[in-house]
Symmetry: D2
Subunit: 367 residues, 4 copies
């Protein structure tokens, strides 16, 4: 049997790995058991957010030192998926995802299972196109296999980090005679997220494969997966995948549940997913129950129709603050206030990830 552990750790700045270093030094975390790291850094979450790259470099240096490995090679084995932007009450933090063997017996319904994979590199001209979708789908299937999850319905959350088109990468593609879908970096991030979501939907069977077509990207928002969470950023050049689910090949106290969020005010989804894990909020989770929670993962977006429940919102027309920063701050306020805890992974840009104008929430908790 395998067993997953999730350590939720603070950072003082994007280069601060001291909390993990301490756990390794104290023997709490075996560095060879770390399969992935994900979290929130305090950048702007946009094309020019280098906090993610800074964290990743610092993490790989730490692990390389402990494992006697080359940091560049480790970076191709351990997904380090960060979302920039700790707007409002959110706090910079990271989840260290570990796998170990255990002699525990299986539990009914299984336990939290984690698998990872990396695709081949994606040149700029492929981003947001069919080849991108299929690359993600293949990587997701590989991660499901690695997690020993037999039934795709037992997958609860798939995190993918996709590369985007920067001005420099676009120029490089053009110099090779290739045409990126867009040279606008912000738009390329949206296309990359959409393609990633379609890839997850294809792998999980959330959308009829006949409808999966790159012409539908950023157009037909009735097509989505409520288990896909896609980020895009300048710091990766291939698709990195982390799959979370339940598997009877895994044991231990951790479970995961998820719910779609119908819109940016869907507080019912938060109460719902907590209820799935037998955690009450009345209206806030008690400190004792909050202590059972190991990770909270939220995906959301500013409704593209410019309205939420009949009221105009101003996120899409704001030239000063990026719409993704707006929506992360709002959802952060919503979710953190129910939990009484700002350690929430909230990522914007939920194109085809949950219902149009909404998103999804997943929670990992101990029994």
């Amino acid at each position: 049997m395998k067993q997953a552990a999730v350590h939720r750790l603070p950072m003082a700045h994007p280069g601060d790995l001291s909390a993990l270093a301490d756990l390794i030094e104290r023997g709490v975390v075996d560095p060879s058991g770390i399969v992935a790291v994900m979290g929130k850094t305090e950048g702007n979450g946009g094309v020019n957010d280098f906090t993610r790259g800074f964290f990743a470099q610092s993490l790989m240096l730490l692990l390389a030192r402990h494992l006697g490995r080359d940091p560049a090679k480790l970076a191709r084995e351990i997904p380090c998926v960060f979302s920039g932007g700790t707007e409002g009450v959110l706090t910079p933090h990271y989840l260290v995802l570990c796998r170990s063997g255990t002699s525990e017996s299986p539990r009914p319904g299984g336990a939290l299972a984690i698998g990872v994979s990396f695709s081949e590199p994606m040149p700029a001209e492929h981003i947001g196109r069919r080849v991108h979708i299929e690359s993600v789908a293949a990587a997701v299937r590989a991660a499901i296999r690695q997690a020993s999850i037999d039934d795709p319905q037992q997958v609860h959350f798939v995190q993918v980090k996709c590369p985007c088109v920067t001005a420099a990468r676009a120029q490089a593609a053009l110099a090779r005679g290739k045409t990126p879908l867009t040279t606008d970096s912000r738009r390329s991030m949206a296309y990359a997220r959409a393609a990633g979501a379609f890839g997850v939907a294809l792998a999980l069977g959330d959308v009829d494969p006949k409808l999966i077509d790159d012409a539908a990207l950023l157009r037909d928002f009735s097509l989505y997966s409520s288990r896909a969470s896609i980020s895009s950023g300048v710091e990766v050049d291939c698709n990195e995948v982390i799959v979370f689910g339940q598997s009877e090949s895994w044991s231990g106290p951790l479970r995961i549940a998820h719910r779609p969020m119908s819109d940016a005010l869907d507080i019912g989804a938060v109460f719902g997913v907590l209820g799935d894990l037998d955690i009450a909020a009345a209206p806030q989770v008690t400190p004792a129950d909050a202590g059972r929670i190991s990770g909270v993962l939220v995906k959301c977006e500013p409704d593209r129709r410019g309205m939420i429940r009949g009221n105009r919102h101003t996120m899409l027309d704001d030239t000063d603050i990026d719409a993704q920063r707006h929506i992360r701050g709002a959802l952060g306020g919503l979710v953190a206030s129910v939990l009484g805890d700002g350690r929430v992974f909230v990522s914007g840009g939920a194109e085809h990830q949950g219902p149009d104008g909404g998103g999804l929430i997943a929670v990992i908790a101990r029994n």
Copy 2:
């Protein structure tokens, strides 16, 4: 007997008064009964937010046309208190506060009462100093009298708009041989809000008058009023006051309640104030109950100690997004998700307005 009415109206942009124009034309609102207007515009809420001035100019033009009055004089009689910033799920909207006579009999506990007043103009050198505090206190007392509220304990919410020091006003003061407390416009807004809060506390008896001293402004945050909501902006040159309370001299179906918020995650305060008005949220207010709500007023701030319940927040160290924009977005997400409605007046900068790091919420609803 007097009776209050509150109309909560949308705007398409900061110069759009069409919703109010329509109500006046249809005879629903008698323009001579309008005592104050407050709301949220989609500016940045900072020194260079001119959406508030644009709305006020447009409002006064509309009312002047209907009342056959000079708009400049109306602006000295009808407070028009706006908070810029509709971050996240918040929506631009305004509350038109009206007073009329009624033949209804008094109700036990009274009904919503509203009073307004204007102080003398505040030159830049007085802002954030003792004379500012006392000017606000006198204006609050005048508004309480106008509202026929006998007991200061029956006051539930006092909105004050104070002027701030802009670069131009600071230069003008220096040219007169006067020294403003600060020439940093952002800091002057904080001092103005603090002085306004002390003025309210003095008028309501929320703080021992012996402790009310301008040396304590922005220093001793144990001194506060949970009924003070202070904005500061470039578009006013005197202190404008709107007092909300319960009075047996008023009748009609409207009531008001308020609660302090202990910190930026205090979702319990939202449930609490709704409960005070016999409105349930499980976890969201039903559409039927939401229809009873006429106005939601929230004040909040980014905790100056840099932590919320033990987790670091990044609002104060962000050079790209003003801390007040951050906190409005987070509290907007919290409150709007409980109500299922983004029409929430959330104003940042809660210095001495509610507990340190927290703020307050007031709700106006029909029985």
Copy 3:
């Protein structure tokens, strides 16, 4: 003979018309002779910049009061074209453009001539499409006729303000069964500027009419007019045009000259256009010569290829500051330092307005 006058005036905020009011009251400006007003306000220059609408409302109120006219009708006769954004050393200011009769005799080469026109309203679905281009071209031709300029080569600067697609307008179009070219407001502003530039090029003969096609918009940047300056904003619903040129039907001391700018570092174009007007800069214009200058109009853009003379720039990948704000600040620094004066109209978004990655500069000066 007609004669043009240009008054360059400061504003304390976007609703401040006191400088013009003073000139009218002192008889310096005849309000009935004002043909257009253009300038810089201190907004962000983006979709949610309401400083332009605030100024326009304030201007029309002032003129309506003096002329005994309806402000809404005046707004359809007097173009009020503002560019938001006074980044860096730029200062909020406006040019009041006046026309009067004169008994002066014609001068060789003529004198500054000004003409204006308005197109029909542009619904969201037309913006950035062929019908938009032709609407602008027709309006430019009308303004040239009004200015009594016989030869299109005598036109030196054409300012057009085009509407854009906001979230609300896009929804309205979709509700009518129409499809806007884009529902992304930022992109719609770029398309609107491009269509406006093609319209100017078509009217002036700067581009072979056979090449003028909406498929080339934002694609073939070898097509441009060095005399087109296009803004786009939420505050207009039709295309407003102001044409500046030289005409022998006009007299008086004012002349205009223009130069293309090859890129964002083309300080030579600034010296060149000053030289065309017999003004030296060594390296800065003397205060005496600066006093001869009545207006400086600059259009520029962040090079879309991400490089300026071989060095990477970061304007296009910045999620915190809009690229147009970046480039206005840089060109403002360049031009204002040569002039020793921050009263420069610098407008970003120079798609098809001057060479790719560059723009243009026009200067109005007295002999």
Copy 4:
């Protein structure tokens, strides 16, 4: 004899040291001769700018690998002073400053000399106070000695990087029972820069030592050094100093000159300093002469009185864009357009560094 070399290198992102790695691998740069590195990264230049730390970490890793040293120790020996913010036409780049022995004979007037030093760590409570000033002065004197510059008048430029007070550091100081001068991180950066400038002025004799007092910091702007360039940032905990001057103990082709800038439009200073180095601009430096230039260092600030040559600027009242970002973009446009080159180190926050409202420029060029 010693000889200085300056390599001006591009970076593709803040973790990209490939250009230096290439020079080391090709033997052009001897890593053991590197005495300091300074440059511009594409962060926001504010408290939450982590691009500087990311670059520094990457640099020290590269050097440690080549030198077989511990990167943490190297970081205490080689100042790595970066200014965040490549607004407008500025480009991310860095100067690698090297020292080697040479058999060349001395030149009249000497040649470029470089010296460095580090102060002891500065706890938050000392920042912006007397002890901070003296710590900087001592470090500057040490760097002058290291550079073998005998006469302080031969110093042309002193770069200091000072720590600032972050929310976390302020809390730590308070927990120790110490009171920082301010807990507002933005203000602490201003105080740190001011204290650094006083330290330089004290060491160079630019201000009468009797007038050097922390009460004058950010108050008496008639006190300044035109040779001080101070940055402040979260990524350092002590004062790091780089001194540039002319010394007859150094040989080689490099020279340095500097000029104060009287205000943000002082293009004459740019022409002046180029003239000091026998470089003409008419109005732009020729490509051949531009090739002689090895480094351009500019310090500037938004005039705190809100006016530039009688015109109001809006930098200080902007809630969306930090005033330092504004001024860097404007000065970048000014200086880069004269040079025809965006590789300019422009740093904002010039309190007491050059005339009030102005700053300074230094240029390093080959004969």
